[in-house]
Subunit: 220 residues, 2 copies
Amino acid sequence: MDEEKILTPAHEDYVKAIYMLYSRGVEVTNSALANQLKVAPASATNMVKKLSDLGLVTYEPYQSIALTPAGELVALEVLRHHRLLELYLHDKLNLPWEMVHEEAERLEHVLSEALEDAIAAALGNPTVDPHGDPIPTKDGKVESVAGLALSLAELKHPYTIVRVLLQDAERLIYLGAMQLYPNATVTVLKRAPFDGPLLIEVDGEHHALAHDLAECIIVK
Amino acid sequence: MDEEKILTPAHEDYVKAIYMLYSRGVEVTNSALANQLKVAPASATNMVKKLSDLGLVTYEPYQSIALTPAGELVALEVLRHHRLLELYLHDKLNLPWEMVHEEAERLEHVLSEALEDAIAAALGNPTVDPHGDPIPTKDGKVESVAGLALSLAELKHPYTIVRVLLQDAERLIYLGAMQLYPNATVTVLKRAPFDGPLLIEVDGEHHALAHDLAECIIVK
DNA sequence: ACCGCGGAATAGGCATGGCTAAATCTTAAC
DNA sequence: GTTAAGATTTAGCCATGCCTATTCCGCGGT
């Protein structure tokens, strides 16, 4: 049951996207996938059928999609590549955190086992990437990051940021400008009603933070 | 005259191969290219026509192929990526020299400008890779490496290896086992007639070295 | 139970980048 | 000068992955 390694970057991207949607609690439909990957719905249907033939997903027409154990392993391997690369690019090559995602997006598909190991070793076998996302182990285990969204945090209580659930460069730059990085300490001073912005304090500075951004910041 | 950046990895591979053949003094024909890239001759003809349309090569049916200035720039950029990566993987990630070529072969196509710069900076803007091959500068200049083939070296005279003109892992492992790396000191003790093997001394050890391998080792 | 609407699947195209087989050109031998 | 061998090009095919247009399903409203 193991032929493997005939997977193209496209296969990997789909499997990864399925995993991401699923782990985010979204129902994995072909159109959700298409939307995530910025392709036409028909393209997703097509590829999902191929993944099904490869035994990486279970799929019946008009039903939602799920990864098989084999598919999950593939997803976790790609994710491991991605997050190791993000951390490496950030820590060893000093790329700013808003750049590492898109770089890793391309590099993850051409990373050999040997290079993966070398990178992991150079980083001291780390467990989280620069956004606080956990790095799966080689045998496909991910530790879940405990914490709550900043939007739900107790007022006037200092929290430590453990994770930032964003990839797009613009918003990461914006958060970075306020020093809202993992390990930073942040306090919510006031919360506007009706899901309005939060007044927060980071690094001695006060900022207003939109509610939807606060939902993406996980603290402890 | 500059639209660029619609180049696929395949385009880059062809342009690089044309540059390599040309710089090695081989006449660049479609079949030489096909042979170099391990594709069928017809495939090479096809792609060369596309490169010609892109203005990267000059080509008339049944004639040999040459890079245009634009094509040469592309080739040198790819080569810069390749050799920077080789050096980086070798020096910073401790991959053995026989592995770096094939790793770089895949990575070179997905290296952004920013990452290229970061790598070059991390290495201190080096000029040669682990095989002694010169690294083109960003503006497309290559310094030629002076030296002569070990097969032509004077007897009983110590030389320093400056370059090893091989990529395949097996032979690099073989040379590595004898410590025949760039910067190593080597002395030819005896040369067998009829292009026979050379008796050499490296690192206090005596070895017999086939003539064709000696031709690939450039010393000074 | 029926209808219709929207989401989902199929059909059919297109570009890339390979391939093989057939036709064609070059060249060198007779 | 002809011709045959070998290299080169053309023709036509296939797989990948994307697309648009069309058809089909299934569910909510009546």
